[in-house]
C-alpha cells in the first residue's frame, strides 16, 4: 500500500509539474503588452503610460525623455491587461495639468474586455483607484480618451453590449458598436451612448477634435457585404454624432480581425487627414487621404510604401501649421520608421525620411508635440524608449 501511495504521489506530482511547466516560465506562456504611450503636459513635462506585465505605470520626464522618474503604479492590484496588438494603455493631460490614464483588461479567455480609467489631480503623485469607464460589463476594448479644445475629456471605445442584446433576442450582430461618454465632473464619465452599430471589433480607433464638443473618430467600419473599410464620424455637438463619411472604397471583404487601426488628424484650417492599412480588392498596403472639411469627401488615396515592405501602423499629428505622418516598414533586416511632413495642409508632402530603426520587436510609432515641436515616440526592444525630435525639411 505504501508503495502504491508513493507511486501515485510520484505520478501525480509529475503531472502537476507538466501542468505547472505549461502555464509558467516558458517563453510566450503569458502574453504581455509591449507599449508606451506619451503625452506632454502644458508645462513641458513628458508623461508615459506603460503596461508592466500585470500593472500599469506612469513615468515622467522633464528632459525630453533622456531620464524618467521612478514609475508610479496606477493599478493597486495585478490585472489581466489587454495585450492585443492594437490595444494600448494611454495617458492624456488636461489644460490644468490633470492626468487621465485609460487601459483595458481581459475579463475572460474569449477576449471580452473591460475599459478602465484612473485620474491624478496632484501631478501624477497618486492616482484614483481604476474604475470602469462604463457601467455595462459585456465587453469594451480599444478605449481612447482625448481632451477637447475646451478642456473636457471625451472617451470612445468598441462595445459589445448590443451584441449580447441581439444574441438574447436570437438575432445576429456583426462586429461591435462605437460607444462614447464625456467626463462628468470629478466623478468620472457620464452615461454611455452608442454612436454607431456594427463596426469592426478589433482595431484601434483614431481621435481628433473639430472643435470644442466636436470629436471626430476614425474607425474600421463594416460596410455592406462584410467590407471592412474606414469611416469617420464627426460630432455636430457633444451628444449628436454625425453620419459615417467613408474614407475610401478599398473593398476589403474579410470575416476576420485585421488588428490594424487607422489614424486621424485635423489641421488648424479644419482639413481632415487619415492614414490606414488595407488589404482590399482595390488596393493593398498603407494609404493617406485628406478632406477639405468635416463635410467634404476624401481625396483619392495616396500609397505610402510598397506592399512587400509590410508598411503598417501609420500615425498622423497636426502641430500648428505642420502635419506629420509616420509609419513603420521592414526591409528584411530592419524595421524603419519613415516620416513625412506637410506645410500646406497635406497637399504636398516631403520625401519619406527614415527617422529611427530597429532590428528587433517594436511598438507602433507614435507622434506627440510640445509647444515647440513634434517628436516621434517609439518603444523598441533593443533600444528601449526613444523620443526623437522631428527636424524640419533638410
Amino acid at each position: 500500500m505504501r508503495l502504491l501511495i508513493a507511486l501515485a504521489t510520484l505520478v501525480l506530482s509529475v503531472s502537476a509539474a507538466v501542468a505547472q511547466h505549461h502555464s509558467h516560465g516558458k517563453p510566450g506562456s503569458t502574453p504581455e503588452a509591449f507599449t508606451a504611450a506619451p503625452a506632454f503636459a502644458p508645462d513641458g513635462t513628458l508623461w508615459l503610460a506603460r503596461p508592466m506585465v500585470d500593472r500599469i505605470v506612469v513615468l515622467r520626464s522633464t528632459d525630453l525623455g533622456k531620464s524618467f522618474s521612478a514609475p508610479v503604479t496606477v493599478t493597486p492590484e495585478p490585472m489581466n491587461l489587454d495585450w492585443g496588438p492594437d490595444a494600448r494603455a494611454r495617458i492624456a493631460v488636461n489644460p490644468a495639468g490633470g492626468l487621465i490614464v485609460t487601459f483595458g483588461i481581459f475579463q475572460d479567455k474569449n477576449f471580452n474586455g473591460r475599459a478602465f480609467f484612473a485620474r491624478s489631480g496632484d501631478g501624477g503623485a497618486t492616482f484614483t483607484r481604476p474604475r470602469p469607464i462604463t457601467a455595462n460589463a459585456t465587453s469594451q476594448r480599444f478605449e481612447i480618451a482625448g481632451v477637447d479644445p475646451a478642456g473636457r475629456v471625451f472617451a470612445t471605445w468598441l462595445d459589445k453590449r448590443n451584441v449580447a442584446k441581439a444574441r438574447a433576442a436570437g438575432k445576429a450582430y456583426a462586429g461591435a458598436a462605437l460607444a462614447y461618454a464625456w467626463e462628468d465632473g470629478e466623478a468620472g464619465f457620464g452615461d454611455t451612448s452608442i454612436a454607431l452599430d456594427n463596426t469592426c471589433e478589433c482595431c484601434r480607433l483614431g481621435l481628433a477634435f473639430a472643435g470644442a464638443g466636436r470629436p471626430a473618430v476614425v474607425f474600421r467600419n463594416i460596410f455592406p457585404g462584410s467590407v471592412r473599410d474606414h469611416g469617420v464620424i464627426t460630432f455636430h455637438d457633444p451628444r449628436t454624432p454625425g453620419p459615417v463619411r467613408r474614407v475610401s472604397v478599398d473593398d476589403w471583404k474579410i470575416e476576420a480581425c485585421p488588428h490594424h487601426g487607422p489614424s486621424i488628424a485635423i489641421a488648424a484650417d479644419g482639413s481632415y487627414h487619415v492614414a490606414w492599412f488595407t488589404d482590399g480588392a482595390r488596393r493593398k498596403g498603407l494609404f493617406y487621404a485628406r478632406a477639405e472639411s468635416a463635410d467634404t469627401a476624401f481625396t483619392a488615396p495616396r500609397a505610402l510604401s510598397r506592399p512587400d515592405r509590410q508598411p503598417a501602423r501609420p500615425y498622423l499629428l497636426a502641430n500648428g501649421p505642420d502635419l506629420h505622418l509616420v509609419w513603420k516598414e521592414f526591409d528584411g533586416d530592419k524595421v524603419a520608421v519613415r516620416w513625412q511632413v506637410s506645410h500646406d495642409s497635406g497637399r504636398q508632402w516631403s520625401d519619406p525620411r527614415i527617422v529611427a530603426e530597429t532590428a528587433d520587436a517594436s511598438d507602433h510609432p507614435l507622434l506627440v508635440a510640445d509647444k515647440q515641436r513634434a517628436y516621434l515616440s517609439w518603444l523598441t526592444r533593443a533600444e528601449g524608449y526613444r523620443l526623437i525630435p522631428l527636424g524640419d525639411q533638410p
Binding site: S23, P27, S29, P85, I254, A256, D279, Q310
Partner: protein, 162 residues
Amino acid sequence: MRVTAFLALLLSLASFAAAAADPLPFGRGSWAKLSEAHAGRPTVIHFWGLTCAPCLVELPHWGRLAAERPDLQLVLVAADPVPQDPQRLADVLTRAGLGKTESWSFTDRFYERLRYEIDPTWAGELPRTVMVDRKGNATILPGVADIARVRAWLDAQRPSRP
C-alpha cells in the same frame, strides 16, 4: 488487481496531461527549416491564430479533412503577433482533431521578420493557407480556405501513373 487498475488509471491521467504536444517554436530561420523538411512533397501549410475568431471556427474543418485524406501533408503554424501559451494552442488543436498534426507557433515578437521570411507581402492577416506542390510552387488561399479547393489541389498532386 485493483491496485494495477488504479495505477493504470493514474498513468493514463498523467499521459493525458502530456498528450497534446506543445507546438514547435517558430522563430527566425524556422520557415527555411520547415520548407526544407517538406521539400519534394506536396504540403499544405495553414496559418492560424488563437486571437483570430474565424480561425477557431475553421480549424475543425481541417481536422476532418486530415482524417479523410491520408495524402494531406498538413503543417499548422500559429502566427499570433503576440506569442501565445503553447498549452492553450495545443488544447485548441487537440479539440479540433489536430492534436497529432505537425504544429508550430510564433515565439519571437519580431513578427515582421517571421512574416518576411515566409512571404514579404504578407501583412499578417489570418487565417491563411499556403499549398506547396512537389516543385515548390505555392498556391495561396487568403482568409478562410475553401476546403473543396484544397481537395481539388490534393487530387491534382497525385502522381500520374505511367
